[in-house]
Each structure stands twice: as C-alpha cells, then as structure tokens.
C-alpha cells in the first residue's frame, strides 16, 4: 500500500516537474511547480515527516509560489512566448542531464547498502512536530536565531531592491 502511494506521488512529482521545463507559458510552468511541490509533500508523508510536509505545503506551495505568480503577473511575459529554439544548446543540456541520470542509476545499482528496506518506527504514534521542535530549540537554538536575522536582512534587502530609483 505504502509502496504504491510512494510510486504514485513520486511519479506525479516528476511529471509536474517535467511540466515546469516543457510548458511554454510561465504561468503553466508555475502552476505545474505548485503541483510538483504538493506531490513532494505527499512523498514526505510516506517518510513519516509530517512537520516537513506541512511546512513544504505552506512555505513552498503557498508563499513562494504566490510570490512567483505575482512577479509573472507584474512582468507581463506574454511577448516572450515564441522564440526559436537553440538546438545546439538543447543537445548540450540533454547530454549533461542524460549523463547525470546515467551516473545516478549506476551508483544506486552498485551499492547493496542502499537497498535496505525502510525500518519500522518503534512507536507509530510518535509526535513528529514535538520531536522536530525539541531538536530545533535544544540542539540548534543559535542557528535558529541566526536564521531569524537572515530573514530580517533579506526583507530589508528586498525593500531596498524594489525601490524605484537605485542610488
């Protein structure tokens, strides 16, 4: 059952990922990316990472993609849709990506340690959010505060960048 769910959502994730690359209109690509992120959140659920799955849906499928769609709307990209395709660039890019996939498949097939079956949780009712929270605030308290400062700096930077006249 879980294996079937994993394959369904992994296939959805990869299909919509391909949609991001192959759709001509940026809006279609962005919507495809949303679906890919939601399917990835479902794959996180098959790994019992419920907190990460919820954060994935809220931050990526929600906030980040709304930002992308706003920018696409702001830039009015319809004039960009038709351009001649550079065949040499596509051949080169396809070669790099194909080589990467070949190396990946070979590396995954060669190591028997990677074919371990998913071990069962000691307690299936484990409170995932609490466990992540304890780890975050006990072992990683300083990085957590630093990342808060990073977000503040990024916000200030975005405001400075989007002013009309850059001095």
């Amino acid at each position: 059952m879980q294996l079937a769910l994993f394959w369904v959502f992994a296939a959805l994730m990869l299909l919509f990922g391909l949609g991001v690359v192959f759709f001509r209109s940026p809006i279609s690509s962005a919507m495809s990316l949303v679906m890919s992120f939601v399917a990835l959140a479902a794959v996180f659920v098959t790994l019992d990472a419920f907190f990460i799955a919820v954060v994935q849906v809220m931050v990526y499928a929600g906030a980040v993609m709304v930002l992308f769609l706003f920018i696409i709307m702001l830039l009015d990209l319809r004039a960009e849709a038709r351009r001649p395709v550079n065949l040499l660039a596509w051949a080169g890019g396809g070669l790099v990506v194909g080589g990467f996939v070949a190396v990946l498949v070979k590396a995954l097939g060669s190591d028997p340690a990677l074919h371990m079956v998913k071990p069962a949780l000691a307690n299936p009712q484990v409170n995932d959010v609490a466990a992540v929270g304890f780890t975050l605030f006990r072992s990683f308290n300083l990085p957590f505060q630093i990342i808060g400062v990073l977000l503040l700096v990024a916000t200030v930077g975005v405001v400075v960048l989007s002013r009309k006249e850059l001095k």
């Binding site: 879980q2 294996l3 992994a10 690359v21 990460i52 074919h115 975050l136 960048l161």
Partner: protein, 105 residues
C-alpha cells in the same frame, strides 16, 4: 516495501529535471523555478536519509531540522532573487537571458 534507493532515485530524477530547466530554458523565471526544484530534490534525499537512519526507534531529526533551515533560506533566496529579476526587468525590459549579454567578452 520502499527502499532507500527508491527515494534516492526519485530525488536524483527531480534534481535532473531541475538541472534540465536551468540548462535548457532561456527565461530567467523558469531558470529560477529549476533552482527551486533542485533544492527540493536535496530536501527529499535528506528526509529519506533521516527516516532510514534510525536512532533508538526514531528518525534522525537533525536532518529534518536541516531541511527546515534549507526551506527558510530558500524562501529568503526566492524573495531576494525575484526582487533582483524585477530590478533587471526595469533596467532592460527583458527576462530572456540571451538579451543580457553586457558581461559577454
């Protein structure tokens, strides 16, 4: 049952799709979406390793905290990157990377 190799294969293929988006597309917004796909592929392999590397019956939550940090930094990166793209569009009226050849020798 699912094996670690299944998850790593899905993660690697997602990374390859993101890489294809960066290499093949010429629209800077789609290139940015490809970058996001690659970040998510890295997150997937981290969560898979966290689940398969158990510590006394629990997943290794250090990896999930790292994923949390990656998502936070990626959100900040998207905000700054899109602001740069908007500033670029104001200056050059294009989002096509082949029109941005000021630094070309």
């Amino acid at each position: 049952m699912t094996t670690l190799a299944n998850y790593l294969l899905a993660s690697g293929l997602l990374f390859a799709i993101g890489l294809a988006g960066v290499l093949l597309r010429r629209n800077i917004l789609i290139i940015f979406m490809g970058l996001e796909l690659m970040l998510n592929a890295a997150n997937l392999s981290l969560v898979a390793f966290s689940r398969f590397h158990m510590e006394n019956g629990l997943p290794n939550y250090n990896a999930q905290v790292l994923v949390f940090f990656i998502i936070t930094v990626a959100a900040a990166e998207v905000a700054v990157g899109l602001a740069i793209i908007v500033a670029l569009y104001r200056a050059k009226q294009t989002t096509h990377v082949e029109d941005l050849d000021t630094l070309k020798f």
